[in-house]
């Protein structure tokens, strides 16, 4: 790891100002993603602004961005009102990672693309041209089946699909104030060349908290994922789903898929087509994967995703 200057901030407002002044600084919360990127020398910031000293741990009404995944997993309020979010947090990584990794860090994590993580490769995200993963002999197994224009990496946040499914919003703090946006709007499928992540956050902007509102939709939510190992593994594919059914008809539906696109993949057209009809998991599952464009090495993910969508919807109250 290359050395850096370390800045610690007592609150998030001073952190946003520090980030604005120190151009190109990396922001560190739990550090489970950042430390890897620094060690692999994929990121080599001159300055690191740490949120370590910021005291902010609410897990009711809103989730502090600095709450750990374990805080979320342990919250009875989250478990009762947002089952998808509970499962997504409780099944993430391992106890060691959950004790340190934060809500904000999970949402802002960088791609796990093996080519992006290896500094011997260049791509759109590192300021280069092309995508090593598109080479016909590349290792495609864990890449996207819904592609971006320049990137076919898979977004592996557990929390993002779950939070999107329950209609959560992010309160984002920047030096001039705060704005609130749907979790899905934190992500940009086609970021500018040289931008190492798919976030829409501006320079100096931080997620302060995630707003959660208990609704019939959120209470009837579920998160399922497929891993190659029973634990300690990123999902090959994941699905967060939520439906609000009244009188046997779907009034509201959300299906958000993880690890299948460079950003969390929300199947909006499928959600819309479900409204006003009886819940039909098999039909919805087939519709979600109808547009998939797998690579040579990951066609199996289409089948897995289809089964996961069906399993998720079958697990909800209809």
């Amino acid at each position: 790891m290359k050395g850096f200057s370390y800045y610690t901030c007592a609150d998030l407002s001073s952190a946003t100002r520090a980030l604005q002044e120190l151009k190109g600084a990396a922001v560190k919360a739990g550090g489970t993603d950042l430390m890897d990127l620094l060690k692999e020398r994929r990121l080599e910031p001159t300055d690191v602004v740490s949120l370590h000293a910021v005291k902010q741990v609410a897990v009711k009404g809103e989730l502090s961005a600095l709450a750990t995944l374990q805080d979320v997993a342990d919250s009875a309020w989250v478990k009762e009102n947002f089952p998808a979010v509970h499962t997504a947090a409780a099944e993430a990584a391992t106890p060691q990672i959950r004790n340190v990794g934060t809500v904000g860090g999970n949402l802002c994590q960088h791609s796990r693309c093996v080519y992006f993580r290896n500094r011997n490769f260049d791509c759109h995200a590192t300021g280069g041209e092309g995508c090593p993963a598109l080479d016909e002999n590349a290792f495609h197994r864990y890449h996207a089946i819904f592609r971006g224009t320049h990137c076919v990496s898979a977004h592996t946040s557990n929390l993002a699909p779950a939070l999107m499914a329950v209609g959560a919003q992010a309160h984002c703090l920047h030096p001039d104030g705060e704005r609130t946006l749907d979790i899905g709007l934190l992500y940009d499928l086609n970021p500018a060349q040289g931008k190492p992540n798919h976030l829409t956050l501006r320079p100096g902007e931080l997620i302060r908290a995630v707003q959660l509102k208990p609704t019939p939709l959120a209470r009837n939510s579920i998160y399922v994922e497929f891993r190659e190992r029973q634990s300690f593994d990123f999902a090959v594919a994941s699905v967060a789903a939520a439906v609000h059914v009244e009188g046997g008809k779907v009034r509201q539906a959300r299906i958000v898929c993880g690890a299948v696109a460079p950003i969390p993949y929300r199947a909006r057209a499928v959600e819309d087509a479900m409204i006003g009809k009886a819940l039909d998991p098999a039909k919805a599952a087939a519709a979600v994967v109808a547009d998939a464009q797998p690579l040579a090495g990951n066609q199996f993910k289409v089948v897995i995703l289809k089964r996961l969508v069906q399993r998720a919807l079958e697990g909800l109250k209809a």
Binding site: M1, K2, G3, F4, S5, Y6, K28, G31, T32, M35, D36, L38, K39, E40, T46, V48, S50, H52, A93, T94, P95, Q96, I97, N99, V100, Q230, S231, F232
Partner: protein, 161 residues
């Protein structure tokens, strides 16, 4: 740009230590290289194996992913604080008896994770052990004996032996 060493007190195994290191040093590097506490092992260095597990304020954490300077004011427990050659901790005693340490590389991390489990739940069932030890890989794949040793140590600790 200057990158000076920082000087701070680090509480390890109940003792305050005056240490000095560069800001980008991980807790693992500070423990092993600056404090010569080499019981904590250096494995994948990327948070993928768990061998560097230590307890930070009682909770298992990966010392390879934690910055040393962010541990000021925290209580760090490493395997060196668990027992001594003459007076091993019940976990260490049972690991030795059952040959639960094969190559031994994962053992310090597993001992610390196990200690944390037993502090919270003195009689964990097998499923709890499996879940709570999910972050500690043993590539000799001696998991069964590891679980058995922890269960026997838990019993020893219940009966005060």
């Amino acid at each position: 740009m200057t990158k000076r060493k920082i000087q701070m007190m680090l509480s390890v195994n109940g003792e305050d230590h005056d240490v000095s290191f560069l800001p980008h040093r991980t807790l693992l590097e500070v423990l092993r290289e600056d404090m010569q506490l080499t019981g904590t092992k250096h494995g994948c260095e990327l948070g993928e194996c768990g061998t560097c597990t230590v307890l930070v304020d009682g909770e298992p954490a990966l010392s390879c992913l934690v910055l040393g300077l962010e541990c000021a004011g925290k209580d760090i427990q490493t395997v060196e604080g668990l027992g001594t050659a003459g007076g091993p901790h019940p976990l260490q005693k049972r690991f030795a008896e059952l040959n639960a340490a094969q190559c031994g590389y994962c053992t310090p991390g597993i001992l610390m994770a196990a200690q944390s489990i037993l502090t919270k739940d003195p009689t964990p069932d097998r499923e709890t052990l499996r879940e709570e030890l999910a972050g500690n890989l043993c590539r000799c794949t001696g998991y069964l004996r590891i679980y058995e040793a922890i269960e026997m140590a838990a019993e020893d600790m219940q009966h005060g032996s």
